[in-house]
Symmetry: D2
Subunit: 434 residues, 4 copies
């Protein structure tokens, strides 16, 4: 007979999770600068009595790409300190080692079960109007230009909520439960260093989660598949400045080269074998109106339904970038600063999650495979676990959204957090005894 | 018989001018934020015993365009204060009213003669290597991304140097000499408000100057013509963000629209009737790699050999900007943030300057018209003076340059400052008695 | 017990089909100008004793779009005559009414079964080297720039081959077999007028076929799904010519507008809900090197996995085309000249075809749904039949290709024609008795 | 005292010139295919008793660039024959050797004087409406897509008119008068082969003419300067075709590469040192709507106020063309198919022409230098003559135009032909005795 976690334990965990979510939402941190978030997570895990590993212990430093520069790391570190990051854990995260793992050893021997959540925010300006609930209720971002517009604040809170429930039921836990708090999911930079550090080497059952993504409130999908493989590229054009009125022909126009590249990048042909994507998310070029721009910087992302398609897109993107440099007689530097891969959820694992959901009245959990629209580096964890013989699933906790992911009015329905925590807690318990 | 200013007076003025120039070079300020520069100028003029007008007295506030935003004005004002701007003059400049006029009343009645110099710097990163003399000798910019890369620091120092010489020879001055220190020449924003405030309504002879511009050391051109009329435009695209992987079709891509506009702007046809120019000096678009960019901002400048050609370019640029918005189904806002016009030097005035130069051994001053390559809003002063019946000339003080204008290694030969001050002082004296 | 058509009947039909295919391959005709092809088909059907309907009887004249101009229709009509088109049928096809239907009434009452093939060629230059079998064996196209590069010559020959076999077995046929020979499949122009003329109003079982498309020799797919909905657009830019050296600004550059449109068209965002495509197949612009081009003509095609996606692409394409016109201050005319839709094969019908195939040793026929990569206006027939309660399937007769569809060395393996005819003949017989 | 040609001689020549002009206008021929025009010219020169040289005698075959292909040359040759080209001269012109020189030896020894006119038409569709005088009066072009839209028909007629007058006054001619009828001025292809063949090696005074170009009726400019140096480039992209729906990623899109090149070509920076131009006059790409285009062909022209600027433009254009090829991963072939250079008129020669004009009541001829807007390969003749110590001038015979050069309604005022012939005849007589 199934065991049901006590209602008061669940309620307390949910209440705390909502409060924490709002605090994190107010203090969003970009990938690899989650100093405040990760140290708060570590402190909370310790308080709950879990074993805590963090920083270089759970993150292979050399495997990181797309690291912010020294000044930015330093600035964010100081900000975290100023905003109350627990000083006992903060130093271990310095230099952009912002991963945390909590370990809960069960009462009996059993399998290793992992729940993975991510913690980073996005470089988006949060809406400040009364139409936006976080603004209305006072927990909109206080970091200009940074926003939790993808729900990772919710993920972190759900992860800690599940940890809280399980720590209260430790006598019922068999085996080991790992709570994996990953930095830098955006940009596809956080999973690989954690995989390389061995975080999932002993994991038998692995579950990664996401909130929203088009799934409505009170329902969940236990088997998300089809995450796109992706490559993140930074491109820098270096030209030559010149007076735009007096000597325009003496310049080498980096801004123009970038514009030519942008148009041609979006024009890369669709691939017959499956979905492909290309985006130039940001472009910064030039320094003065009357000066031929001598530099331009682009943040690019290409994706494919398979690794092969993503690689086709990357190859074509590089040709385009180099062609524009040739056109304008200047130099381009191209750097790969992130990657994600593909992975499919194991049907058996998805079915178990759906069965757990079926025991929760009012909640609908489907094991039917659901096609993802974006990319996820949780796929690296999944591939590693599956390669070693374990099972992995990527699940979505549904929630009616105020506005889509990656928009300035993104918001979830917080009432979905309670049952989300319960579903995760029950699933981890069940898998422990699986 | 010509009067020669005493050598010791000239030498002292030149020495002080070089020192001041280096101080200004180290603390460059962008247009309409020349709080430190203008207050130093005002203090120096007062010390020399000249009448001083500044701020709203000499600048029609409502005629200003392209004003930095409140935060930026405030930030620069505070910086100026922190960097020693004289507090007796600073408040009058607040809010971007950074113009100064010095008045020297001569011993006898006579014509009104004006010398106009400009004070603003450019948004260029100054070279910090030992190859660049200002870096080597410790007076490179301490304001990151801002640089005196067009010599306005030198202009300001020359203007004060000439004022110093004339204040020492006040008994020889007939009529009135006006020293016009203009802000925001870059961007074509400073002259019109000063003209509108009536600064040159009583001027009989007007001389504007520039250092360098291809004229070698020890020589000057007294009749520069052909400055291009120009219009500065800011364009802002506002689109809609969306997840680049999951919902790309839901976005309205402002970055792509900007790239399309850039290419088409550079493709605007040459004009049969004379020179035309177009430059997109800066482009900032997007906020995150995996988000469809919902905004883009471009700083644009078009120019023409005549007002008609500049207007043709402006009209075509606006069509292009709107066409790109239509292409990507989003909005564009276009604002005119600066203008310059055309004006020719009066030959008689140029001849007088050349005659003055002929009295200075080793210096060669030509009255032959010289074609300018860029734009200048001194032309608004010139047109106004000429319209009222006065004479105007635009003169270049030659100097061998280390690197061209608007480049990160721009530098002049400081030994040209001494004879430059002498030529200006002699010319103002001569015109006073003309 | 299954009936097997006699081997000699099959062999004769196959031999004749190969010969006919080579004749058609040598004399390819573009859509709506298939005067020679269609009149040969009509004559052959009559010879076989089938009822023949053609021209306006089976084609609603007013529903045609993308009709070649009068001169071109006239030119092709005369060429057909000169190349031996049977004069008894040719006049009925005049003006671009190049559809033919053959009717075979069976010995007994029964269902109406239709086989649909297409007859038109592509505007591609056929390879003339010895590496290309049709060139080597002397049946490469004698019409410069026109080529059967998609196998419609084979389709026509297979259709007549099946008709030949069934006419020899008329005593075994129950019900009515319709042989539908459609013009102008390329461009999506031929099906709608035939549907509108009522050609499939009485059809119970409908089968459309294609050769090749990646399916290997000796195998067939009986259930092709996922043909992309498409819209074909012609865009014409009309500008103003001017002397490119003397008065470039007086021109309105249609060639430049077209180039801007092309880049932006390829840059239309992928759609999250499924496959999309865009192609600018041809561009013709300008008349002289030193003249600003006053006209440009583009042939465009957009596609989508659903009608909604195709419509999204069309709407975006029109915005792009109009935006480029606004950019260059000129006019654009946009015309829809063809469409295709989507349709899925009925599984029951596919299963019957697969069962028929299973009776043919050495041939493998699959009823597993197969995803199409391109577009097909046979989908209009399929939708109409299905809407009326009939069943429809789109089948591929596999063949190892020398080079891909729509390339200058496209070629099939002719040995696949014999079993193809047999499979079709058996299927039609079976469906007649179904 | 000046000699005046008899009025009846002038009137007859003018009448005949107008008739000839209309005949030539009706039968326009593109550069290097002027078979009918040149053979008519040769026949007329012979009839007038002048020595005639033509074809390879006056044209260095190997120096020709931009030659039409064999088929086109053959087609035009046959058309000329069909349209009455004199058979006695036609064969010498075969293969695109369509230059003619007429030699008139004077009664006395004297200098060699040359008048150069050009004969070729443009690839422009002539307006056929009643608004256009040539259409209204029945002499609009009967060659579709070809038009005398630059007045070379008039030039040829003026040249023969002047020859007619001088042949009637042979007793007054001193020295030798050369009438140089050049092919292929458009495209800058005809002058160099004639210079290389030595046509102006002995010339002391050289005059080239043009009708219209903005100069009003009854006036002429004797000193046109500033023709732009130019380079004509043909670019061919060769990609790979593919099915646009099924295998778009397998293609190499030549049409897209061409569009990218076009945009970047027009975006080549203006040059500080003087006028520059770029035009892509024609673009032909692709073969079918649903096929990735495997070829694209562009006719390009770049110009500069100096040879250096033209060379800058050519170098930049080639970089752009190659950059687009790199972008789309395909090949580009670039060929130089024509050139023009710069040359200034000799003031002394211009003054003589102006003096001759001053003797003609009602006609105003200026020797003040006039800035040209376009390019001319007459400059190669001028440079050669000047280099050898002779004098050269480029003169414009003014005429009020119905519509600008290179437009479909271009037309001159034929009443300017009479005085034009008189001015030329008088000038040649005067120079002969100079």
């Amino acid at each position: 007979m199934a065991f049901y976690p006590p209602a008061d334990l669940l309620e307390a965990a949910a209440r705390r999770a909502v409060a924490l979510r709002r605090d994190l939402h107010r203090h969003p941190e970009l990938g690899l600068t989650e100093f405040r978030t990760a140290s708060l997570v570590a402190e909370r895990l310790a308080t709950l009595g879990l074993g805590v590993k963090l920083g270089r212990e759970v993150m292979d430093s050399a495997s990181r790409v797309g690291l912010p520069d020294e000044d930015e790391l330093e600035r964010c570190y100081r900000r975290a300190k100023a905003e109350g990051a627990p000083l006992s854990f903060l130093p271990a995260l310095a230099g952009g080692h912002t991963a945390v793992v909590g370990l809960l050893e069960g009462a009996e021997h059993g399998p290793v079960v992992a729940l993975r959540v991510d913690m980073d925010a996005l470089p988006i300006h949060e809406d400040a109007t009364q139409a936006h609930l976080p603004a209305r209720e006072g927990f909109a971002s206080v970091h200009p230009g940074v926003m939790h517009a993808c729900g990772h604040d919710v993920h972190t809170a759900l992860g800690l909520g599940a940890a809280e429930v399980l720590s209260g039921l430790r006598h019922r836990v068999k085996g080991t439960v790992k709570f994996v708090f990953q930095p830098a999911e955006e940009g596809g930079r956080g999973a690989v260093p954690m995989v390389k550090a061995g975080v999932v080497e002993d994991v038998d059952h692995f579950v990664a989660i996401h909130i929203g993504t088009g799934v409505p409130s009170l329902s969940a999908c236990a088997a998300v598949n089809g995450h796109l493989a992706s490559v993140k590229l930074d491109a820098t054009y270096r030209g030559r400045s010149a007076h735009a009125g007096g000597q325009p022909d003496q310049g080498r126009n980096a801004l123009l080269a970038a514009a030519e590249a942008v148009q041609a990048l979006y024009g890369i042909s669709r691939h017959h074998a499956g979905r492909s994507r290309v985006n130039v998310g940001t472009l910064r070029a030039g320094s003065g109106r009357n000066v031929i721009a001598d530099h331009a910087f682009l943040e690019i992302e290409v994706r494919g339904e398979t690794e092969e398609i993503a690689e086709y897109m990357r190859r074509r993107a590089e040709a385009v970038l180099r062609g524009a440099a040739l056109m304008e007689d200047l130099e381009v530097e191209i750097r790969v600063v992130g990657r994600t891969t593909t992975a499919d959820s194991d049907p058996e694992l998805a079915r178990i999650i759906a069965e757990v959901g079926a025991e929760m009245p009012g909640i609908s959990v489907s094991a039917v495979p659901h096609q993802a629209g974006g990319s996820e580096d949780a796929t690296y964890f999944m591939r590693r676990v599956q390669k070693r013989g374990g099972k992995a699933a990527y699940a979505v906790i549904g929630s009616d959204l105020a506005s889509g992911h990656h928009t300035s009015r993104f918001d979830i329905d917080e009432s979905d957090m309670a049952w989300g925590i319960e579903l995760l807690a029950r699933t981890l318990l069940r898998l422990g005894s699986a």
